[in-house]
């Protein structure tokens, strides 16, 4: 498989503390890549650097074989970012939110209208397109958050904890949609604290701690780092064994 995204010695410090430390990860085209780590491990900072929200102190991000920072104009259209925060406006209707974010990628006119319909249909909000986002439930807002990031048909989708604080039905729906997007050709980077989610959808997983990747592989490969019998241990137990049980108060 071709590499779609690669970080080379990615480093970021805040107030003298190294948050991401010479990070080297490689994501293959067509995979769902899970990024796990305790609070303060550097996952969100890594995501922000990959998405060009935060400038790294050192290192580069290669996206589609090119330096992302130097080819932002061309490559940003190929990336879809679903942040942990609900990046939607409550006082806009569902379709207006999708219109706003999809239009940022140069889509306009009839094509934009079609993309809005398609995105809302995809997340099951077509019937509520004219409702204000502030009146939506938590799960609906999460789905609208996704609709706002997929309208421009990105090649790489980055989900930063997309299932926080929602009911099991909405969570299941979102996970199904992520798998569907992947089947349709999108590569996915997925971060979450829910180990069962990561285990269920990710083809490869990296565990981060203190700004570094300390283990990576498939779910079974990670389990084998701890025990031989992969059926006898959960991913969460592996995670706790590798990262330790000490509380992370960042």
């Amino acid at each position: 498989m071709d590499t779609i995204l690669k970080t080379i010695d990615l480093t970021k410090k805040y107030d003298g503390r190294t948050v991401v430390d010479n990070l080297n990860i490689e994501i293959k085209k067509g995979e769902i890549f899970g990024l796990l780590g305790p609070n303060g491990a550097g996952k969100s900072t890594t995501m922000n650097m990959i998405c060009n929200i935060v400038k790294p102190d050192y290192g580069t991000v290669e996206f589609m074989g090119k330096d992302f920072r130097k080819n932002k104009k061309e490559l940003s259209k190929r990336l879809g970012y679903i942040p942990q925060n609900l990046a939607i406006h409550g006082s806009l209707k569902a379709w207006e939110n999708v219109e706003l974010f999809t239009s940022l990628y140069g889509i306009k006119g009839e094509e934009l209208k079609d993309r809005i319909d398609e995105s809302l249909e995809y997340v099951g909000l077509s019937e509520r397109r004219n409702d204000y986002a502030k009146n939506f439930s938590g799960g609906m807002k999460r789905r609208l958050n996704i609709a706002c990031a997929i309208g421009h048909h990105p090649d790489l989708l980055i989900f930063d904890e997309p299932t926080v604080g929602i009911d099991p039905q909405s969570r299941n729906f979102i996970l199904e949609k992520i798998k569907e997007s992947n089947k349709n050709g999108a590569t996915v980077i997925y971060t979450s604290h829910y180990m069962e989610e990561v285990e269920a959808i990710c083809s490869r997983i990296a565990i981060m701690d203190n700004g570094r990747v300390i283990a990576s592989g498939t779910s079974d490969e990670l389990k084998k780092l701890v025990v031989d019998d992969v059926e006898s241990i959960t991913l969460e137990e592996v995670f706790l064994t590798i990262t330790g049980k000490k509380l992370r108060d960042y």
Binding site: N48, C51, N52, I53, V54, K55, K72, K73, S76, K77, L79, Y81, P83, N85, L86, A87, I88, H89, G90, S91, L92, E96, E99, L100, F101, S103, L104, Y105, G106, K108, L112, C148, A149
Partner: protein
């Protein structure tokens, strides 16, 4: 690319009840209160309908002199008129009048409290533009919407314009409605409507740019509102937003560096005279503010973006 962003930001601002209250209801209410409170004070500024002018006579040859302030009665007809006027005022004119100079003082036509406060308060609320966009900026900050704007490769300048343009339009629409209400229900006269509209709209753009610049520098809506309101209040204090600039004892230097003074004076004079020398200075002041504040705002935004804040 930012057309839809401008459109949706505009919708967000237009849907805010606070904006309707601040830019339509408040100017009308405050105008009504001040018009009523200062009506007797402003009456004193009106000239008497009939007034007596005194003149002096000087010894001179018959000269044909006309300048800005003086008219010489240089022929017999005018001399006769002045003699008649003398007698009518009970004065005896025993000397031989060869020339009489009558001064024509420059009178600014009077403005009453209805026109003054009906105009000034609408403008003052236009200077409080930042409140109009506070809901949008708070939502952007709380939901980290800027991150998504950055991911889409929008530049800081584009994001700034996508805020400034709808902010200024929304604010201008609000105060325009307030102005129309004032005209229809309180009888406020704006005089030259076209020039007045240009002055007001440019001032609102200037106010928006100035306050957006403060926001970009402070990155805090609360601090921006406090600082903006304090500065606008000071400008309003010296510029005639509370006490009329005609009666205020403040120095002309303070007034001349005050953008609100230039705007207020231009609008008041347009109302009562139909023209004003202050239109040009107000327009120049506003355009300068828009350009300088926008440059500083974009610079501050770029610095913050580079830091990844």
């Amino acid at each position: 690319m930012i057309r839809y962003l401008i459109k949706n930001n505009f919708k967000i601002m237009m849907r805010s009840g606070v904006n309707i209250l601040l830019y339509i209801v408040c100017p009308v209410l405050v105008s009504a209160v001040l018009i009523s409170a200062f009506s007797s004070l402003m009456e004193n500024y009106k000239p008497d309908e009939e007034f007596m002018a005194k003149y002096g006579a000087i010894e001179a040859n018959f000269e044909d002199q006309v300048n800005d302030n003086q008219t010489n009665f240089a022929d017999q007809t005018n001399a006769d008129q002045s003699e008649d006027a003398d007698q009518a005022n009970g004065m005896t004119s025993s000397f031989n009048i060869s020339a009489i100079n009558i001064e024509h003082p420059y009178f600014v036509p009077a403005i009453d409290s209805t026109d003054y406060y009906g105009i000034i308060e609408v403008v003052y609320f236009g200077w409080c533009a930042i409140v109009c966009i506070s809901g949008l900026l708070s939502s952007e900050k709380k939901n980290r919407i800027n991150d998504k704007l950055y991911v889409s490769n929008l530049s800081v300048t584009q994001i700034y314009l996508a805020r400034l343009i709808p902010l200024s339009i929304t604010c201008a629409l609000g105060v325009s409605i307030a102005a129309v209400i004032g005209m229809v229900f309180m009888g406020v006269h704006w005089g030259n409507l076209v020039l007045s509209a240009i002055v007001v709209i440019l001032m609102i753009f200037a106010a928006s740019a100035f306050e957006m610049m403060l926001y970009e520098i402070t990155n805090s809506m609360l601090v921006t509102i406090i600082v903006s309101f304090a500065i606008v209040w000071i400008w309003g204090f010296f510029g005639g937003s509370f006490e009329t600039y005609m009666f205020s004892p403040h120095s002309m230097t303070l007034k001349n560096i005050d953008p609100i003074y230039h705007g207020n004076r231009a609008l008041v004079e347009l109302s009562c005279m139909g023209h004003s020398d202050y239109v040009l200075s107000s327009v120049i002041y506003s355009v300068l503010m828009i350009v300088v504040c926008s440059i500083v705002a974009v610079f501050a935004g770029n610095v913050r973006r580079r830091k990844g804040a």
